[in-house]
Symmetry: D2
Subunit: 106 residues, 4 copies
């Protein structure tokens, strides 16, 4: 992740693109690219693997750039979130179903 982050920073610095990469603009970009990824699955499941890879790379690149922009260690954030999710979705309640935690009965 760190290696990619540095490569992206270098790429953007060469082009003086930092001025466009506000947290807000990067968040918009993530949504835009997520839409392009979803387009690979718009009408059916016979997706074009190369197109999916490319769009997935785009979304993830913007995620890494946003983390870099707001000085966040993305790996740490994900590990934290997995821990939170382990508590929100205990195996005993979540095994084999996709029920949202807010809909768990008591």
């Amino acid at each position: 992740m760190k290696e990619i982050s540095e490569k992206l920073r270098e790429f953007n610095e060469e082009r003086e693109w930092g001025q466009f990469h506000t947290p807000e603009n990067l968040s918009k970009s993530i949504s835009i690219e997520a839409g392009e990824l979803l387009e690979c699955f718009q009408w059916n499941n016979n997706y074009d693997s190369a197109a999916v890879c490319e769009e997935l790379a785009d979304v993830t690149m913007y995620c890494i750039m946003l983390a870099d922009r707001i000085n966040v260690d993305l790996k740490e954030e994900i590990l934290k979130k997995i821990k939170v999710n382990s508590e929100k979705y205990p195996v005993s309640k979540s095994k084999g179903n996709s029920i949202k935690y807010s809909n768990f009965g008591d």
Copy 2:
């Protein structure tokens, strides 16, 4: 990235969630979480840092899970894409502007 990927796989296997994680459903999930991230910037730029981190982690987790699901090395894909972008956006044409490559005049 590999470490996170394995942690996520373990988390999902314990819950038998693989059945829900088709490439299509993961792509939808990336769009959904991208929308939640964008909500942090809906009306202004005074964003809640903790909320942004959490939503950013969510988007990225689903990206890593999708790469894992379709057996793609996400790091490799991103490095490939940076190379493609270097050619699409040469420094000479892109320095200091945000013009899309398809709008470069000749």
Copy 3:
């Protein structure tokens, strides 16, 4: 709205596209087109009016098609929602601010 709805139904019937227009696929399409609309504002506010109009028409068309597909009177639903919002966001609490109702203090 009804006139458009009928025109769209006719357009789709001629092409036998009803088979693709499940509620799920139409919802994906709304997200995809919303991303294309957002792309008009990706890096700045100097938007191309014609492009915005076209993408906005796309999003709205899919909304009308989804309402038609699940037999819902979209106008009624919107009027209902405005009423709900009037109660969630009373003028006394919301005038001049963009605070989410869940963040209203007591």
Copy 4:
């Protein structure tokens, strides 16, 4: 559509919300609400009808507000777009398939 448009304008004027409703912010809002609509179909097709209606109303309301904000007759735009699509997707090429026009062979 005009009736809804006026009701929304009145609702927003009472709350002095026009200041937040820039074309960009409304476009973000459309993407955000489209994500919430998509969430109704995240893992399967057993959707909650009431939730779908509510989210669909939200997306459409923001579409109508954006059209109003940029002084566009949304109905006219949609009728124009249907005409464009009729030419892009002639019945002879599109009947019974979901192929994108850019992928039509010759």
